[in-house]
Each structure stands twice: as structure tokens, then as C-alpha cells.
């Protein structure tokens, strides 16, 4: 239960610090918070042999209780360790990267809060608690993306990030509520027991699964809710590392993993997941081929790599998905932090301003090379193992969905290799295109980069060790406390029986060959003219990729503008019709009163006549009344 509490405490203390402008204290708090969380996660990982669950009732609404519950098992702890590692690296790196930034204390505290929220999602044992962490992460990303006050586009990007994910979160809310209302509990263990026990109708499950999926797509930047992630680059580079590697985007994938039965027992949820994954995979990779901003290339690669994880989940390879999440966390954090070092040195995000940085920045160069190699899937780097596991599972899966994921996955390997090679060559080779004299970053920025290169390179070998697959396995309902599993109640048997992460055999050659094709293609294009962008080879597709398939435009025309127009119309209607009625009633009454008053202000003769007439009438009435 302490796991999220530690960075949360650091965040709270940090947020109270700003009045003091105590930079050093903020840095110590931030780093200590992340380090303590990491140590705690590591300690638990070593000490824990059984999943354990603790909960305390927070409040009760009617008969629905909300518990502050945490549940840790080895899969959750592995993710928690990854979060801790990346958070610590980011905190250390930021001390140097944000040197001289006045907003640093608040920034460090927000990073702590971000970490705490992600850890809360990771260990949550209750859906409402999970929702709390889920949304707090959203707001932290909003605050941190908007951090840079010199960038005019930062506030807009921050708003976009929060709103796009929030739109998905409407679905997530409703999915959680649907599950809670139908199972009578928000406890994840109870919900999963009810799901696997066949207590929920398939229609309910499908609805809940699809609704949750909307939230997952928002957080994990899957088509069509992916548009916020590339723009989120407006945030400081360490924040990009944090968002892309261990928090936020990983949360979506992790939640699908955690609540897997909800998705697999529903009807048609996994195929939807597969289609989303296939589209996003290719879309992300293709958009990355033409981007000139180095961070944007990496951002699109995140979109595409996340789709691998989602695709793995869609074909039931849950262990492979989580494995890829871990390796991706390592190499993507490395790539962003190294890119940050490059940007720091060159003073620009654009690759057209880089080039030839191999000699002045050897540490960054080699770290980046490891990171890119892992991204492409060059053996024996980490990404190779996890991507191979996913592709292998997809190739063995039954049905069109698995075939789709496999085909898209293989094609994406080619494209990934192409854009990664392009980035590598454009940044580090050829002639220098920048005026500044580049140099390797200061130690506080270099250490985290080098430290992350270790897992990026070697994490894959963990897959060879015994029992690792079991540690990554989906929580089978039977091992959830108090759950009576009846797997035979529903026909679906969604989780792949064979979850092995390592395969010997000729299959390995297929993705390797694909990667080689991509690398070779990029190299050949570049070699012909090292001074220009290899993206020229894309020909007429280049503007399409560069404008990212014009999806922002669609979003603007289909959603943003109609909502704005509607808002203006409603405001006008509210002011002129609803309030107009009220004001009209008031004015009507006043003018009626005026009429009556005027009638009373008659000239003397008419008034005398009226009074006499009235007296006559009254007298008549009285006499008649008496006579009757």
C-alpha cells in the first residue's frame, strides 16, 4: 500500500515548496521519492512469492462500496519497477536539463505526482481507485506538457492531450460503472470472478469491454484517439520520456492486461482490438518516416510500438504484450533522454539541423544506437525478443484477426527499420548542419542515459530465464482471492496456452529479414545523397505522411468545430429564448401595469363618470342581490 504513497508524499511536499523557491530541496524530494518507490518495488518483487491483496473501505454509495484496495502480484511489480527506473532516470536527468528554469520545483513535484498516479494504476485492486490514478495521470500530463512557457504551442498541446484522453475516458468511466453496477462491486477480484463465472451477460461484457477500450485507446494513443501524443512533444523532453515509456501510454495496455477476462469473454472485443492495433501500427510507423522533428519521429514510433502490445493482447499473447511493454519502457526512455541530449547540444528539434554528431557526442551516439537497435529489433537487443514473441504468437493464432496483426506487424518491422535508420543516419552521420559545437551532455544527464542502455541491451535475456513467463502471466481468476473460477462456463478460452517468449527455429529469420530490408533501403537512399532527407524517396506520399494523414484536420472538422458551433448556438438560445422569456415576462408585466396605471390617470370628467358608473353598478348589484 506504500508503493504509490511514497511519491505522492513527495509530490505533496513538493507542491507546497514553490513559495520557498527551494530548487535543491525540490530536486532531493523528487529523486528521493522516485528512488524510494523503486527500492520498494524491487524489495517487494524479491520478497513476494504470492499475490497479496489489501483493502479498506473508503466509502459506500447505497450498497456499492468503494475500497481503497491494492493488489500486488509479480506482473504488477515488474511494471512498478519499470516505472520506478524510468521515473528515477527522468528525475535525475531533469535536474540538469531544466537548469535555470524557475518552474522547476513545481515541475519536480508534478513528476512525482505523475509517478504516484501510475503506480496507483499498477497496484490498484479496485476499479474506482484505478480510475483515480488513471485521471490524475491525465492531469499531470496536461500540467507537464504545458510546462514550457516559451513555446507558444505548449498550452494548446496540453489541452489537446487532456481532452482527447478525456473523451476516451468517458467510455472508461461508463465501462467501469457498467461493470460495477452489474457485478455489485468495484473490487477487481470480484469483477473478474463474476466475469469468468458467467454472471454477466455477453452483451453487457461486450459493451463494458468496448467502453473500456475507448479509454484505453485514449491513454495508449491508439487510432483514432492517438492524435494527442505527437503534439505532446511540446512538453520538456524528460516528460516525453516519462509519458512514452513508463506512464500514461503504458497504463492503457496494462489495464487491458489486468482486466483481460473482461475483454476476452466479450463478443467481438478482441477483433476490434486487433483492427485498431493493425491500423495504428502502420499509421504510426508511416507517419514517422516523414517527420523532421526528432521527437516527433520517436513519438510516432511510440504510437506504433504500443500497437504491437495491443495487437499481442488481441491475439491472447498477454505475456508477450507485457514483455514488450517492459522492453519498450527501457529503450524508449533511453531514446528520448538521448534525443534530449542531442537537442540540448544542437539547440533544435529538427533533424535537418543535426548531422555528423557521431564524433562530438560518442556517449549519446552509442546509447542512441543501442536504443534504435532495440526499437528495430536487432538481436540480441531487448526489442528483438519481445517483438519476436509477439509476431510468433500472432502467426500461430487462429482466425483473421491474428493474421491481420501478423501481417501488419511484419510490414511495420520493415517501416520501423527504415525510419530508425533514417533517424540514425540523419542525426549522427554525414556533415554537420548546425552552427553550435556539440558535445556530450553533463554527467547528470549522461548517467541516466547510459544506465538505461543496460536494460535496453540486455533485458531480452531475462526471457531465457526460467519462470519469467509465469511472472508475466495474466492473473488467472482462480488465483484471485475468494474467486471461484468456472472457466468452463463460457466457451471462450482466450489466453494462449503457449505463452513461451522464446522460440527456436527458422521463424526468427522472418522479422530479421524484414528489418534488414528496411535498414538496407534507408541506407541505400541516404548513401546516394547524404545531405538530403531520405524521406524524399517517399515521393508523393511524403506530404501525406508528413501531415500525418490529415487526421488532425478531420478531428477539427468533425468534432472540434461542431462542438464550438453548438456551444455558441446554445449560448445564444439560452440568452435569447430561455432568459428572453423571463425578461419578456418581466417587461410584459411592467407594461401591463403601465396600461392599468394610465387608465387610472384619466382626466377629471372621465374619472367622475367612471366613479358614478361604478357606484351605480355596485348599487344595482346590491339591490339585485338583496332582491334575489
Amino acid at each position: 500500500m506504500l508503493l504509490p504513497a511514497v511519491p505522492f508524499g513527495a509530490a505533496l511536499a513538493g507542491l507546497l515548496l514553490p513559495p520557498l523557491r527551494a530548487r535543491a530541496a525540490a530536486a532531493v524530494l523528487g529523486i528521493a521519492g522516485a528512488a524510494a518507490a523503486l527500492l520498494l518495488a524491487c524489495g517487494l518483487l524479491v520478497a513476494l512469492d504470492q499475490p497479496s491483496e489489501q483493502s479498506r473501505q473508503l466509502v459506500r454509495f447505497g450498497h456499492l462500496a468503494v475500497d481503497f484496495g491494492v493488489r500486488v502480484d509479480s506482473a504488477a511489480l515488474l511494471v512498478a519497477v519499470a516505472v520506478g527506473v524510468v521515473a528515477l532516470a527522468v528525475q535525475v536527468y531533469s535536474v540538469s536539463y531544466l537548469d535555470g528554469d524557475e518552474g522547476y520545483p513545481a515541475y519536480a513535484a508534478q513528476v512525482s505526482l505523475f509517478t504516484a498516479a501510475m503506480l496507483l494504476v499498477v497496484v490498484a485492486g479496485d476499479l474506482i481507485v484505478l480510475l483515480v490514478g488513471w485521471e490524475v495521470m491525465g492531469i499531470c500530463s496536461y500540467l507537464l506538457i504545458a510546462h514550457d512557457r516559451r513555446l507558444p504551442e505548449a498550452p494548446g498541446a496540453a489541452v489537446k492531450a487532456f481532452l482527447v484522453t478525456r473523451v476516451g475516458d468517458v467510455g472508461f468511466w461508463l465501462g467501469v460503472i457498467l461493470l460495477g453496477v452489474h457485478t455489485g462491486s468495484f473490487r477487481i477480484a470480484d469483477v473478474l470472478a463474476a466475469v469468468t463465472g458467467g454472471e454477466l451477460s455477453t452483451a453487457t461484457l461486450t459493451a463494458a469491454g468496448l467502453l473500456l477500450l475507448a479509454g484505453v485507446a485514449g491513454k495508449s494513443a491508439q487510432f483514432p484517439l492517438h492524435t494527442w501524443l505527437p503534439d505532446a512533444m511540446a512538453g520538456p523532453t524528460p516528460i516525453s520520456a516519462l509519458i512514452h515509456a513508463a506512464t500514461m501510454v503504458a497504463a492503457g495496455v496494462y489495464v487491458v492486461f489486468r482486466l483481460y477476462p473482461v475483454f476476452s469473454y466479450g463478443d467481438g472485443v478482441l477483433p476490434v482490438l486487433a483492427v485498431v492495433a493493425a491500423v495504428t501500427m502502420l499509421l504510426g510507423a508511416l507517419a514517422a518516416t516523414a517527420a523532421d522533428d526528432i521527437k516527433r519521429v520517436l513519438a510516432w514510433s511510440t504510437v506504433s510500438q504500443l500497437a504491437y502490445m495491443v495487437g499481442a493482447l488481441a491475439v491472447g499473447a498477454t505475456a508477450a504484450a507485457l514483455f514488450h511493454l517492459l522492453t519498450h519502457a527501457a529503450f524508449k526512455a533511453l531514446l528520448f533522454l538521448a534525443a534530449g541530449a542531442v537537442i540540448h547540444a544542437v539547440g533544435s528539434n529538427l533533424m535537418s539541423a543535426m548531422g555528423g554528431l557521431r564524433r562530438p557526442m560518442p556517449v549519446t551516439f552509442w546509447s542512441m544506437t543501442i536504443g534504435l537497435g532495440a526499437l528495430v529489433g536487432v538481436p540480441p537487443l531487448a526489442g528483438f525478443w519481445s517483438k519476436d514473441a509477439i509476431l510468433h504468437s500472432a502467426s500461430g493464432g487462429a482466425g483473421w484477426a491474428a493474421g491481420l496483426v501478423f501481417a501488419a506487424g511484419l510490414a511495420t518491422v520493415v517501416v520501423t527499420a527504415w525510419y530508425a535508420t533514417r533517424l540514425w543516419l540523419r542525426t549522427f552521420f554525414g556533415l554537420s548542419r548546425s552552427e553550435a559545437t556539440a558535445h556530450d551532455p553533463p554527467p547528470l544527464m549522461a548517467w541516466p542515459v547510459v544506465a538505461l542502455a543496460v536494460p535496453s541491451g540486455l533485458l531480452g535475456f531475462v526471457a531465457l530465464s526460467d519462470g519469467f513467463v509465469d511472472r508475466l502471466s495474466t492473473p488467472v481468476p482462480a488465483d484471485w482471492t475468494g474467486a471461484a473460477a468456472r472457466p468452463d462456463a463460457l466457451p471462450a478460452q482466450p489466453v494462449l496456452a503457449d505463452q513461451a517468449l522464446v522460440h527456436a527455429g527458422g521463424f526468427v529469420l522472418l522479422p530479421l529479414a524484414a528489418a534488414a530490408v528496411g535498414i538496407a533501403a534507408a541506407w541505400l537512399v541516404w548513401q546516394r545523397d547524404p545531405a538530403t532527407d531520405p524521406a524524399r524517396a517517399l515521393g508523393r506520399l511524403r506530404p501525406v505522411f508528413e501531415r500525418e494523414f490529415y487526421l488532425d484536420g478531420f478531428q477539427d472538422v468533425l468534432v472540434v468545430r461542431p462542438v464550438r458551433a453548438l456551444a455558441r448556438a446554445v449560448r445564444r438560445a439560452d440568452e435569447s429564448v430561455v432568459d428572453g422569456t423571463v425578461e419578456g415576462t418581466g417587461r410584459g408585466t411592467v407594461s401591463l401595469g403601465g396600461l392599468v396605471a394610465r387608465a387610472h390617470r384619466a382626466a377629471l370628467p372621465r374619472a367622475v363618470v367612471a366613479v358614478l358608473a361604478g357606484a351605480l353598478l355596485a348599487g344595482l348589484a346590491a339591490t339585485l342581490g338583496a332582491a334575489l
Binding site: V170, W173, L174, R564
Partner: protein
């Protein structure tokens, strides 16, 4: 007389005495006296918690006040002075006392001449607390009316440029509601032969026809106060023109008179009527959520935007009440408190921004985080809390109003729940738009002076910031004491 009864009477007597004493004293002394009286009232209201009896559910007496005082008021008319406090009214009483104290304290730091404003605040407090405590229908009506005059004076004398028209609209519109409330009270009292809320709760003494008729009047009256779309148009004008403390009290507690009345009297005294009108009420509540959010999205003035956001937030509260289930009423209770705390804070901040820049036009503001980082930080916090971020106070009421709607199970209610959830996303939209206009971007041309926060401002705002966080993390603080009474009410509606 027990200690609890003494404290109960003190919560009304102290502000009343303060309201009388303040105008008689010289300005500075008067304001300190008034703040002292508000402080004592808060102390007394908090102390009400001590010595409360069991809160268990007992069908024989759906309303089981912790402490109550009963006395003959006008024996010839069979009128009784009957007040009491229980788990439903207690949080609201404390909220009222707290906000009044913060407003009085805030006025200490203002230029001279505002002692009458302090007196009016205390007078309004008597009326508001009295309404929450009243256990007699006629007494409820009287206190409900007492609030009107001080609020009218606050807006009409200390308000902005359009204050006269706004105050007149406010008073006439809500008087119309009061007339309907009076008619409703007469309908019920005439049929039941008693005005005792304790005896009337559950609706056992009233026939179905009376209940439907009574609820119609009650619902209309409280809908004006709450306010429920489309009876809300007095609110933006009144909130925008009112002085800062007036806006805080209006949004913070005055609106709660409507929702509290709907729970205590609408659902309590005429439960069959509440069940009968549930769909209409729920639909209008959801309409309020969506319309409020959309209007905010197109709004160009700071205070008006916050005022309209109240319409949306109260929509969630009313949706909870409309479901008539225990979960829904609880959501409404915590939504009430959360809205009072958060919107109170927002109006304080809006006032501070207008004081510093002299304008509330969003187009003229900007870059506040450069020019006044402290103010921008607190505004950011309040806006984020108001958009219902989980972990802060605003979340619980919104999400569980939706839960309660979906729990009803029928397709219609499910649709209402879904639309309400979409409304919550729109809420995020306009608050982020507000932050982007006000705090982000390049600093605006208008000068911001002073840039820092005055100590009195920090003192007045810190409790609200703290409460937003504490209630968000521990909602049981508000709801724990209300389990029993709420379930008793929900039984009446059959929810």
C-alpha cells in the same frame, strides 16, 4: 436542556446577535466583531457533531435528529419552532458557517466601509442555517425567505455596474419560487394537519394525489433556487454582478437550499411525488449539465463562466436526487458540499483576478502564470477540482450520480447517465479553455497589481483548498454520517 440543544440554538443565535451588533459599532471594530461571531458560529456548528446519537436506520422515525429543540412559537396558529440537525444537514451547516467566516475574514482585509456587508452576511447565515435546521415546514419557509433580503441588498448595493437589474431579477424570480413553496406547504399542512417534518417524512400521512400536487409545487420552488434548467437565468446575472463575498455565498450555500429542500422535503415528505416526477427531473438535470457546459464553452466573461458552471454542477446533484436511490442521494449530498467548497474558491479567485486587473473578459486576460504565479496556481487547482478530477472533491458526486442513473437499469436512465458522462467531458473542455485563456499564453496588456497574494487571501482560501483535497481522498467524512438517514429516505421513494 442538554448541551447539544444549547449548541444548536447558539448556531442561530450567535450570527443573529452579530448581525444586530455589527451596524451599531464603528467600522473596524464591527468587522472584527462580525468575524468573531462567524467564528463562534463555526465552532458551535462543528460541536454539533459531539454527542450525536446512533445513526442506525429505524423505520419508525426516518428523521432522527442528533439534537433537536422544540417550542411553541405561535400557539394560536399551532405553529412550532422546531429545529434539529442530522447527518444530512450537518455538513451543509458546517459549510455555511465556514464560508461565512471566510467571507467575513476576507472583508477584514478590504478597504473600510464594508461593515454593513458583514452584517448582511451574518443575517443571511441565520436564514441559511435556519433553513438547514428547520424541522417544521412553516419554519422552513420562513427561514427560506429570510435569506432573500440580505442577498438582495448585497447585490443591489455592493454589486457591479448592472447590479440593480440583476438584484431585482434575482429577488423577483426567487420570490416566485417562494410563493410556490408556500402553496406547497399549505397543500401538505392542510392535508396532514401537521407541519412537523419528522412526522411527515415518509409520506405516510398523505394521499397520493396530495403528494403529487405537493411535490409539483416543491419541485418548482426548489428548481428555481437550485437552479434547474430552464429556470436558471437569474443565476448568471446575480452571480456576475454580486460582490465577491456575495457570489461566494450565493454559489457556495444558497443554491444548496434548493437541493437540500428537494431532498428533505421533496423526497422526504412527498416521496410518491418524487418517484412520479423522477424521469422529468432527471431529464431536465441532464439537460442542465449539457447546456451549462456548452454555454460555458462559448462564454467570454470569467464570473459568468463560473456561474454557468454551477448550473452544470447542480445538474449532477439534481440527477442524483432524481434517481431517488440511496446512491443517488448520497452523490447529491457530496456533490453539494464539493460544489460549495470548490465554486466558493473559484469565486474568491475570480474576484481577486477582477480586483487586480479590473476586467473579467477572458479575451483581455492571459499569462497569469507569468504575472501572478501564486494566483494562477490556485486557480489551476480549483479549475481542475471543478472539472471533477478523481481524487478531488468534485469527482464523487459526478461519478456516482451517473452510477445511480445507470443503476436504475431502464434504457432511458442509461441514456441519461451516458449523456451526463459526456457532459463531464465537456466540463473538462471549458475549464481547460478557461485556464488556457487566463493563465497560459503571453501576459496580457492589463497590469496585474499586486502580483503576490495577500495574507488574508491565503488564510481565506487555504481551508477551501485543503477541504477539496481531504474530501476528495476521504469522502466518508461527508457521507459517513448520512448512511442511515439517506437509506431511510430512499426507502420512501422505493429506490
Amino acid at each position: 436542556m442538554t448541551a447539544g440543544q444549547v449548541v444548536l440554538i447558539l448556531t442561530l443565535a450567535v450570527p443573529a446577535a452579530g448581525a444586530v451588533a455589527v451596524p451599531l459599532l464603528p467600522d473596524r471594530v464591527a468587522r472584527i466583531t462580525g468575524t468573531g461571531a462567524a467564528g463562534l458560529t463555526l465552532l458551535a456548528s462543528v460541536l454539533l457533531y459531539a454527542g450525536r446519537g446512533g445513526t442506525s436506520l429505524e423505520p419508525a422515525a426516518p428523521v432522527r435528529p442528533w439534537h433537536s429543540v422544540r417550542g411553541d412559537w405561535a400557539p394560536g396558529l399551532d405553529l412550532q419552532f422546531h429545529i434539529g440537525v442530522d447527518g444530512i444537514s450537518y455538513p451543509l451547516v458546517v459549510l455555511t458557517a465556514l464560508l461565512t467566516l471566510l467571507c467575513c475574514g476576507y472583508l477584514l482585509g478590504r478597504p473600510d466601509g464594508s461593515r454593513m456587508l458583514v452584517a448582511l452576511l451574518l443575517a443571511a447565515e441565520v436564514g441559511i442555517v435556519g433553513t438547514f435546521l428547520a424541522l417544521d415546514l412553516v419554519l422552513f419557509f420562513v427561514f427560506f425567505e429570510v435569506v432573500l433580503l440580505p442577498m438582495y441588498a448585497m447585490i443591489a448595493i455592493w454589486g457591479g455596474p448592472g447590479r440593480r437589474a440583476a438584484a431585482r431579477k434575482f429577488v423577483l424570480y426567487t420570490l416566485l419560487g417562494s410563493v410556490l413553496l408556500l402553496v406547497g406547504v399549505f397543500v401538505v399542512v392542510a392535508a396532514a394537519g401537521t407541519a412537523d417534518i419528522v412526522a411527515l417524512t415518509g409520506g405516510g400521512q398523505l394521499g397520493r394525489g396530495t403528494q403529487l400536487l405537493g411535490f409539483t409545487f416543491f419541485a418548482l420552488a426548489f428548481a428555481v433556487k437550485a437552479p434547474l434548467w430552464p429556470l436558471h437565468t437569474w443565476l448568471p446575472d446575480a452571480h456576475t454582478e454580486a460582490p465577491t463575498v456575495g457570489s461566494v455565498i450565493l454559489a457556495g450555500v444558497l443554491l444548496k437550499l434548493g437541493t437540500y429542500g428537494l431532498i428533505r422535503i421533496g423526497v422526504g415528505v412527498t416521496p410518491e411525488g418524487a418517484a412520479w416526477a423522477a424521469t422529468v427531473l432527471g431529464t431536465l438535470a441532464v439537460a442542465a449539465i449539457v447546456v451549462g457546459a456548452l454555454v460555458c464553452l462559448a462564454q467570454t466573461e470569467l464570473k459568468r463562466l463560473i456561474a454557468y458552471s454551477s448550473v452544470g454542477h447542480m445538474g449532477f446533484v439534481l440527477l442524483g436526487i432524481a434517481t431517488g436511490s440511496a446512491a443517488g442521494i448520497q452523490a447529491a449530498l457530496i456533490g453539494n458540499i464539493a460544489h460549495g467548497v470548490i465554486t466558493g474558491l473559484l469565486f474568491f479567485l475570480a474576484g481577486a483576478i477582477k480586483d487586480r486587473t479590473g476586467t473579467g473578459e477572458l479575451a483581455a486576460l492571459g499569462g497569469l502564470r507569468e504575472t501572478a504565479p501564486g494566483l494562477a496556481g490556485i486557480l489551476g487547482f480549483a479549475a481542475i477540482a471543478s472539472l471533477g478530477l478523481p481524487g478531488l472533491a468534485g469527482f464523487w458526486g459526478e461519478v456516482f450520480a451517473v452510477v445511480a442513473a445507470i443503476q436504475r437499469g431502464s434504457p432511458g436512465w442509461t441514456v441519461l447517465g451516458v449523456v451526463a458522462a459526456v457532459g463531464a467531458a465537456l466540463t473538462a473542455g471549458y475549464f481547460l479553455r478557461l485556464l488556457r485563456r487566463v493563465t497560459h499564453g503571453p501576459p496580457a496588456a492589463v497590469p496585474v497589481a499586486p502580483a503576490g497574494l495577500a495574507r488574508i487571501e491565503l488564510v481565506a482560501w487555504a481551508p477551501l483548498v485543503g477541504l477539496t483535497l481531504v474530501i476528495g481522498l476521504l469522502p466518508v467524512l461527508v457521507l459517513g454520517m448520512a448512511y442511515g438517514p439517506v437509506e431511510a429516505l430512499a426507502v420512501g421513494v422505493g429506490g
